[in-house]
Amino acid sequence: ILDTYTTGLEMFSNIRRFFKFIHWLYLQYLLNTALYMLEPWERLLFSTLLIGILSTAIYSAFVFLPHHVRSLMQLIS
């Protein structure tokens, strides 16, 4: 039990490492989609479009997928 307990000081560095990892992920997103070279308003435009499309897709999946799967099962059986 003593090995798995992190002290208060270690928690700070773990949080810092986590935020650094998130920042690194954000940098990879910027580099791989060429947003690193674009101006801030272009980044906002593209990110808004991307989040809009992704969130619409996920919401539609949540709402409509159970009904679709149920009707497919009825068709098969």
């Binding site: 940098l27 580099l31 791989n32 989609t33 060429a34």
Partner: protein
């Protein structure tokens, strides 16, 4: 600086004595690792995104919603539009966005360390203002292979004295009043250095290629040139009017096939035998870091009775155990190469080019070349710089400065390349060439690498399309004899950090290892 690291070298790495590996022909392989699929995918996605946003911004600019900076015209009716080609689209929308990484003004002599002038931009790289600060950084971008680019020392003293006695300009072309005693002395020293009968020097390296190939070949001759030859060679070949065939880079089988087909079928329409066949190769190719395969080329040359033109712009002074170029590195005979060409810009820290060969060849060039008839000859202080460097390099004594610099460069090259490949970067080229390209693939990573390294105090040159193929953007490290082991270690540590930040250390042949585990 260089002296301390040579002592260190003697202490810890005792078996690194050779500057060329073995007296026989070295059989080191050049490895070109293939592009990882993820990198190719993200690079193409980059270009698609840049194209889409480029069209969008051009739409805003044409509709005058946005201010048009840069070259623009009003498109009057009846006139052909000026800026509609893809090249200007690319310049406006891709190059301009990262143009703070290119064309940086410098504020000191480009030796081992360099002062880069700091600039800020208000409108996203369309215009710059200088803050007045200078960023001192380690210089890995200058062609300073033997470290002679200094503004102090006894060579600089010689040059200053020559300005006082000989003046600054010759004010004439070579064929009129422009040949001084210094030029004749330089040419005979060059001939002694290279082991040929005679040599001739010109004021500009690019012009040496472009203006002398027309006096060697003409209509009815055949030129076989490598895929990755420099623009000066391509321009000279086109200017001469000969038939040009291009073979794949360093592919001797393709070259032999082309030679055989050409000799059998003759000139294009008349099928007469060719008047001359000239093979044009470079010693070290500056974008790939690869060497030409000289022994096989000489064998082909003798078998098919063709001539060989060797452009040693990057390799003279930098390769070989005595610094005499690729011919010295491969231990071939200097008399086998017909035309030896080189420049003084890279290892000699001067300006200009030379051609060396038989006395008949040089006499012919002296009378018929465009360069001798129309171009001004080299100015006296530049000649003095080259002569002093040549005196140092001709001196075969191991303790003296010339040989010390050559061994330092060879050691630096092998040390840096080994550690960089072991750290997981994808590096192209021959293991002994002082030009080290590490691949970065996409334009945004090129810009990111450049800016992050400058923040950490290292000035590098990163190149993308159109100097390289579309997917293969790279960073090109140019090593120098004025770099000590400590400077190279610092550069490698920063490269490791930045490589992790950009996720570029993904070589499959050399899986990545941390810096402290990559010792010799």
């Amino acid at each position: 600086m260089a002296r301390t690291s040579r002592h260190e070298k003697k202490k810890t790495f005792s078996n690194i004595g050779e500057t060329t590996p073995v007296p026989e022909h070295p059989s080191l392989e050049e490895v070109y690792e293939e592009t990882p699929f993820s990198e190719a995918f993200w690079t193409y996605l980059n270009y698609v995104m840049l194209n889409i946003f480029g069209w969008f911004r051009d739409l805003l600019r044409n509709a005058r919603i946005e201010n048009r900076k840069g070259s623009a015209e009003n498109n009057p009716t009846g006139f052909v539009p000026l800026y509609q080609s893809y090249e200007s689209f690319y310049t406006r929308n891709v190059y301009q966005r990262i143009s703070d990484c290119f064309n940086r003004p410098i504020g000191s002599v480009p030796g081992g360390k360099l002062d880069v002038l700091e600039r800020v931009t208000d409108d996203y790289n369309w215009s710059f203002q200088f803050t007045g600060n200078k960023i001192t950084s380690i210089n890995l971008g200058s062609y300073n292979y033997l470290g002679f680019a200094n503004n102090s020392g006894h060579i600089a003293e010689n040059v200053i004295n020559t300005i006082k006695t000989g003046g600054i300009a010759t004010a004439s072309t070579t064929q009129e009043f422009g040949t001084l005693m210094q030029h004749r002395k330089l040419e005979s020293l060059l001939a002694e250095f290279l082991g040929t009968e005679d040599a001739i020097a010109f004021g500009m390296g690019f012009a040496t290629n472009a203006l002398n190939i027309p006096s060697l070949v003409g209509k009815g001759c055949l030129i076989l040139s490598d895929e990755l030859n420099h623009t000066s060679l391509v321009l000279g070949s086109r200017l001469s009017g000969a038939t040009i065939k291009v073979y794949k880079h360093n592919d001797m089988i393709h070259l032999e096939k082309l030679l055989r087909d050409a000799i059998v079928s003759g000139q294009p329409r008349t099928h007469r035998p060719w008047r001359k066949i000239l093979m044009i190769v470079e010693g070290v190719y500056s974008m790939e870091g690869s060497l030409c395969k000289l022994p096989e080329l000489i064998e082909l040359k003798k078998k098919y009775k063709a001539y060989l033109y060797l452009d040693e712009a990057h390799s003279i002074g930098a390769m070989g155990s005595r610094g005499r170029g690729v011919v010295d590195y491969w231990k071939c005979d200097f008399k086998d190469v017909d035309v030896l060409m080189g420049t003084f810009t890279k290892s000699f820290a001067a300006a200009g080019g030379y051609i060396a060969g038989n006395k008949d060849l040089i006499n012919h060039i002296r009378t018929t070349s465009h360069g001798t008839a129309y171009a001004t000859s080299m100015s006296p202080p530049v000649v003095e710089q080259i002569t002093s460097v040549l005196h140092l390099l001709l001196d075969d004594n191991e303790e003296h400065e010339g040989h010390r610099r050559i061994s330092q460069l060879a050691w630096n090259t092998r040390y840096f390349r080994q550690r960089l490949t072991k750290m997981g970067f994808i590096v192209y080229g021959h293991p002994h060439s002082p030009v080290v390209p590490a691949l970065l693939y996409s334009p945004s990573k090129i810009a990111a690498f450049n800016r992050e390294m400058l923040k950490r105090g290292v000035a590098v040159v990163t190149v993308g399309f159109p100097a390289t193929p579309l997917v293969l953007g790279r960073v090109r490290f140019c090593l120098s004899a004025s770099h000590t082991k400590e400077m190279l270690d610092e550069v490698l540590k920063h490269a490791e950090e930045v490589g992790d930040l950009l996720n570029m250390r993904k070589s499959k042949l050399n899986p990545k290892r941390p810096f402290h585990q990559t010792e010799f």
